[in-house]
Symmetry: C2
Subunit: 369 residues, 2 copies
């Protein structure tokens, strides 16, 4: 299998300020062309767009606006893990030899049609994602004694981490006490336990091992990939205190990269809601079963940024189609050693965890220099 690396990336600020889908994508593509040595539009074989928006022919529109005439161009949609699906698709175009250089761009707006799970009849009237997060929370509380305080540490830690992230949609942090006091949306999900829909875009440039050093002296390789779809509807996830798709996907990703969970130095996990970070830590085997909450509390107390150094989805905002790409960019920068104030020391092996719709599907990527 031909190796595929990340050469460059671009981000917009995540914001509530409205903009067109095309403008968002172009705004995160432009820094890639501005900052990547030797890169010209003619180098780009593949342009993939990741979004839940209903725009058609978007990959071709964005290509034309960027001055690119790619061979391969299309949109990819899989709700909240559209971004990593897009990255894996680009990986496969390059790894197979069909292409050498792929530009992946994702964007979303606050009015995204991906925000409400209209299609899942098994949810009855409870189609907003807060309801599955509430069921996850209840199950995890029953099984492991997780508390509302445990959840508040996730949110407070990630908001604090996001203070060093210039792309965050927040210009301030929320404290543990503020999370504890924030409005209850369900019995066990507060407003500040939720990631926030926003406008934003993230773009990343992948290239084959044959050509990547033309564009960077410091490539980061996608060494492990795992993906799993258990179902679409909520009812197939047998144990609501864990995310089966994440367990399968991470097992495959570790196996492909030849790593074990103890090798992971830094990770972005899909904290759509506070409970998700605790469960992800357990399901990715970064901690033992039921040990997620303790680990988060310890990170909070010691200012350890191993998990979600950019602030995760809760601290940064969650523009669905951009999220998986933004997560991957953070891990790319951590492994490159270019994450600035957010830099985790000795970050050699990084993990990305991105999922959709109550973890009915998950993607896990492992990056190394």
């Amino acid at each position: 299998m031909r190796r595929v690396g990340i050469a460059s990336s671009g981000l917009t600020k995540f914001t509530k300020k409205d903009s067109s889908m095309e403008s968002l994508m172009i705004s995160s593509i432009k820094p890639i062309f501005d900052n990547t040595k030797n890169l010209t539009q003619k180098d780009v074989d593949v342009v993939l767009t990741s979004t839940n928006a209903n725009d058609k022919y978007l990959a071709n529109i964005v290509s034309e606006l960027s001055g690119i005439s790619p061979k391969i161009s299309h949109s990819v949609e899989s709700l909240c893990n559209s971004g990593t699906n897009c990255i894996v698709s680009a990986f496969s175009y390059i790894s197979s030899g069909l292409a050498d250089v792929a530009l992946v761009t994702g964007a979303e707006k606050t009015n995204s049609p991906g925000l409400v799970l209209d299609w899942d009849k098994s949810r009855g009237q409870y189609k907003h994602p807060i309801y599955w997060s509430s069921l996850f929370t209840s199950a995890h509380m029953r099984k492991y004694g997780t508390t509302m305080e445990d959840l508040a540490y996730v949110s407070a830690k990630n908001h604090r981490n996001s203070l060093d992230n210039p792309n965050s949609c927040f210009d301030h942090s929320y404290s543990f006490d503020e999370v504890m006091r924030s409005k209850n949306l369900t019995d066990n999900v507060r407003l500040l336990d939720c990631s926030m829909p926003c406008n934003g875009s993230a773009s990343i440039l992948l290239a084959s091992e044959d050509i990547i050093r033309k564009f960077t002296e410091n490539p980061v390789w996608i060494k492990g990939i795992g993906q799993k779809s258990i179902s679409a509807g909520f009812t197939k996830n047998k144990d609501l205190a864990s995310m089966q798709s994440t367990m399968f996907a991470s097992s495959d990703a570790y196996s492909m990269s030849g790593n074990s969970p103890s090798d992971v130095d830094v990770a972005e996990v899909h904290d759509a809601f506070s409970i998700c970070e605790i469960m992800a830590l357990e399901d990715l085997k970064l901690v033992g079963p039921g040990r997620g909450a303790d680990f988060v509390r310890d990170m909070y107390n010691t200012e350890n940024k191993k998990i979600n150094p950019r602030g995760g989805l809760i601290g940064t905002g969650h523009p669905l189609g951009a999220t998986g790409i933004a997560q991957t960019i953070e891990m790319f920068q951590q492994v490159q050693g270019t994450a600035g104030k957010r830099q985790v020391e000795k970050a050699r092996t990084a993990l990305v965890h991105n999922m959709s719709a109550a973890a009915t599907s998950s993607t896990v990527l492992i990056l190394q220099s």
Copy 2:
């Protein structure tokens, strides 16, 4: 590069009868499971859905309805060539080694949001595809003296071919005279020069060379792939009497498969409108410049089915997301020798030509046994 073959396929009848997107897809997936020896749901690593519909998480929904829990699942959209984009993406997942077996399913409904090119501001009020077909027709008439009779032969031939296609949305044919007399929509595009939106679905099963003989004794290999996006907006196609994206894509596909145009025994070309078949024959180099119309007339007079034996888009109907897959299925069956009454003798090398939005992008595939 690991070889990737087609093992099996399924089609619904194309129809004006309404149905849900999920039902359409399941209806073309079911024959694959019914008719493919040794195939179980556990074998399927990848499920990709091709459509212009606004449905979200469709690949996961269709997977769950089909009893499949794939590793990789997402939707692909690129207007009218979504289907072949999906096939090439599946090819790359398998060829790269990330997967062994991929199910690609496409469907569209008559109310598809892909039918009107709302996004192209360069078209002013002329956003319906008949306007670009009219401009193509005018340009080809000016350059090569193409006539309204020449166009009528395309439609009459393809409607006649479709009489042997049980999946066509027509239960009868239209004669040359009927095409000539059909209603003018523009100066040079008549109603019967147009392909018709319809409801329909097409599914295809791809597998790696390592495993495909478990499912079929008669695989057909995807030997050549070419794709090109010139632009999104109409104004970049410099010569309106030819389709540049088709020329680039076919050149790459011939090169990858090691074939020349004279090797092509049978082809499905994207006759969204009558003029497109004439132009495609020329741009694929199956005939010389300006010789497309004569070649079509000759096929009509000699009942030669080399081009569009199933009836093409005009004879079969054009459910956007399913079209590229249905075209590929026809070529698969021709190379397998299982095309029944439509069978072209000695069909060893087959070509698929699928394009979008005034040929601003094209895909060309070359299939061989």
